[in-house]
Amino acid sequence: MHKHASHWYRRLFLILAFAALTCASSAAQQDEDTPQDQTKTASMSLNDRTQALKKEVLNLNRDLFILEEELLFPSNTQVVVFLSLDVGTLFALDSVELKLNDTTVAGYLYTARELDALRRGGIQQLYVGNVRSGKNELVAFFVGKGPHDREYRRGTHIVFDKTSSPKYVELKIADDPKSQQPEFVVKEW
């Protein structure tokens, strides 16, 4: 009995041995001496083909995306509004409303996940659209909780000059440590 028991313990630890430190070895070694070896060889080429296809799909996706943008928002009329948070401890953003030349073009209510992404350095593309060349007015209203957990609503605006190049505007919510108030900065790129 003991002899047999030791035998299966040994086998157990032989299997345990396959738990090497990374997946490649474990995946490869688990399949060693199994009937799957031939399948494995075949699947290598499938993996290679899949990898190549993935690359092609991603490149196609990129090209289609560029085409779509060029068709829908040609650079001579394109305006893109971004939103970012810098620190953002003095203001908890709930929503944003965007008006372009007196017309509401975007309204956005933020989820915790989106706010987290913003806090970690992500920048949201809030709006992309078309405007005429020349002067245009952009107004943004920010709603949320300000210092001391008080309801906070602030607006900011900018008159920008649209030329034949795409226009990028960044709305940045930052903390002003001196006044202990949030500040809403509009930056033209």
Binding site: M1, H4, A5, L21, A24, A27, L64, F82
Partner: protein
């Protein structure tokens, strides 16, 4: 009692496969590889925004678009680092390797460079290029931050093990023993590796830290702790340290997924010590549990074998009969399951398109595993890295199929849009052209030049009269006529009357001249401003006219270029759609074959159990019908 000896094989296998999952479940996209540098490019920030929300496909697309359109000026290296990680998540090792190699060559920041070399070492290791992996590890600085240093050591040990340099691997691993940054999963794997390399004591020290965790643990880490104690227990059993083994098994929680194996191990420890009746107590406890649990079937056979050992043939026969019935039912169910898999049930149930986009390489959620498979001791296999990778790739590929379908319908929409735009352009062009054709830029320029000269002359001569308004000019004219009339009427008026009227004329003219004089500078400024604005308007009108004329000339070609691009992209999408669907089918077949092969192995094992049980039953019957030897004459 051969049937006892082989009983724990399936549970052991499951244990190991789950280890592989733990080792390989590293998400390349979701670790701390994102450099904490200032986001200077809006489109890099946009890629990060999607990335932080686990929308990896969008993130990848945004970064590729930003690179292609030259929108990454300042964060290009950081974007590439992110891109490389995303490629790794999507299993695109070739792309990831080329991105990281470029970064390794170009990057200067030591901290980031270390991470790049770590990624490269992982890629080389995964591809089995150990020499290159070694070189990459050597490039990681000795002063790297703790987390990078730990990953470096783990990777180095892995490479050394693959190179069969076990002593060096052990030396590397032992250095990590007190490392506080080491993850629970790494600790588990390193401990198991040390045991495998014969360094029992060090391995146990490694694992014991995890096995003795007392603080409140997450469900995942709690399960790992139980699994660790299971490994420790069986390791102790293997070395005949039974009391220690029992202590390890006793640490496993009663309702843990590993409780059955622990109970089984406890019984085994007692059995090995010759305490058969105590062993029976634990194995009988297992019998009360879910009969489909991994260790329960084995315990039934062990139980029957132990009764046999104790010459309790009646109980032994009953246990074997129970086991036989369960095995036969199992075999039937496995056949049904295989049939269901062949009809595509497995992947229909498990495929989750929304997940395909968001989930990097990782575990397959157990809730997605069909119930019919969960019951066949397959759960751990289905959650294994090997299977998770296969399902992830299948999900990715299926996501692409759907994505390409969407693009194909969009390209049809692009075509319509282009057609409408072309039509609108052709409809509006004649009227617009008529309006702008009357605009003669040369004439405008000449008039503008004349006006400029005139203003310059007014300024030079300080000619206030020249800036009089139309009304003022009219008044001046009227005043001039009045003066003429006064001159003509001088002989008809009394001197006093003529003098009064002349004085009035002089006063009014003086007033107007005084106003024009004092107002001259503001008027001159206004005139200059108007002149400048006029210049701008003329320039804008000329620009529009030029743009219109060039649009008239170029638009057809631009439309044609768009048309061509749409057609080419549509054709690429159609071709890829077919290829991706074909590959998806191949992956489906591969996954199904993988699972069926596991089920067939399980079936073979159960069949062996069945034979053993039937043989044992025959033995018992033999004993029953064989008269005792002392009764033989």
């Amino acid at each position: 009692m051969f049937y006892v000896a082989k009983r724990f094989w399936p549970a052991g296998t499951l244990l190991v496969l789950s280890i592989a999952t733990a080792i390989c479940g590293v998400s390349y996209a979701n670790d701390a590889s994102i450099p904490k540098s200032e986001v200077k490019d809006l489109y890099y920030g946009k890629g990060l925004y999607d990335f932080f929300q686990a929308d990896y496909f969008s993130s990848l697309t945004q970064l590729l678009v930003a690179k292609e359109t030259g929108r990454l000026d300042q964060n290009e290296d950081e974007a590439d680092l992110l891109l490389g990680g995303l490629y790794l998540s999507y299993g695109m090792l070739n792309e990831a390797e080329s991105v990281f190699l470029r970064l390794a060559k170009n990057m200067t920041a030591a901290h980031t460079k270390n991470r790049v070399w770590l990624r490269l070492a992982e890629i080389f290791y995964r591809r089995g290029r150990l020499q290159r992996a070694h070189e990459a590890v050597d490039n990681i600085s000795d002063n790297a931050p703790a987390d990078t240093a730990t990953r470096k050591a783990v990777l180095l040990a892995s490479i050394l093990i693959r190179e069969e340099k076990h002593e060096q691997a052990v030396a590397t691993l032992i250095q990590l023993k007190q490392d506080k940054t080491i993850s629970h999963f790494d600790r588990y794997n390193l401990g198991v590796t040390l045991i495998r390399l014969g360094r029992l004591q060090e391995g146990e020290q490694f694992l014991n830290i995890l096995g003795q965790q007392h603080e409140k643990l997450s469900e995942e880490v709690g399960a790992l702790k139980d699994k660790t104690n299971l490994v420790l227990g069986y390791s102790a059993l293997q070395h005949n340290i039974r009391e220690q083994a029992k202590a390890y098994f006793a640490r496993v929680k009663v309702y843990s997924p590993f409780a059955n194996q622990a109970l089984y191990g406890l019984g085994q420890a007692l059995y090995d010590a010759g305490q058969y009746e105590d062993a029976l107590r634990y194995w009988s406890e297992l019998k009360k549990r879910d009969l489909r649990g991994p260790a329960v079937l084995e315990s039934l056979i062990a139980l029957a074998g132990t009764y046999f050992q104790l010459q309790a043939y009646k109980q032994s026969l009953a246990s074997y009969s129970d086991a036989t019935a369960i095995i036969q039912r199992e075999l039937k169910e496995i056949d049904t399951t295989i049939e269901r898999i062949r009809h595509g049930e497995l992947l229909t149930r498990m495929l989750s398109p929304s997940q395909a986009n968001a989930t990097p390489v990782g575990e397959v959620e157990s809730r997605l595993i069909p119930v019919s498979l969960r019951q066949h001791y397959m759960t751990q296999f289905l959650a294994s890295h090997e299977f998770a990778e296969a399902v992830k790739t299948y999900n990715d590929v299926n996501f692409y199929v759907e994505h390409l379908r969407r693009w194909l319908s969009k390209t049809a929409m692009f075509n319509d849009m282009l057609h409408l735009r072309k039509q609108a352009f052709n409809d509006r062009l004649p009227a617009t052209l008529r309006r702008y054709q009357s605009l003669k830029p040369e004439q405008l320029d000449r008039k503008y030049a004349r006006l400029t000269d005139e203003i310059k002359s007014i300024e030079k001569q300080n000619d206030a009269m020249a800036l009089a308004t139309t009304d003022e000019m009219g008044t001046l004219q009227r005043l001039s006529e009045t003066r003429h009339r006064l001159e003509k009427l001088e002989h008809y008026l009394t001197p006093m009357d003529h003098k009064t009227r002349s004085e009035k004329y002089r006063l009014l003219r003086g007033l107007l001249v005084w106003r024009l004089g004092t107002d001259h500078n503001p008027r001159l400024h206004g005139a200059k401003k108007s002149q400048k604005e006029l210049g701008e308007h003329i320039a804008e009108a000329t620009r529009l006219r030029t743009a219109l004329l060039s649009a008239q000339r170029d638009a057809p070609a631009t439309f044609d270029r768009f048309q061509l691009r749409i057609e080419q992209l549509n054709s690429r999408a159609s071709r890829l759609s077919v290829a991706v669907e074909r590959v998806a089918e191949e992956h489906k077949a591969k996954i199904e074959a993988l699972v069926i092969e596991k089920l067939e192995r399980r079936k073979a094992r159960l069949s062996r159990y069945l034979e053993q049980a039937q043989f044992a039953v025959a033995q018992i019957y033999d004993i029953a019908i064989t008269p005792p030897s002392d009764e033989t004459p």
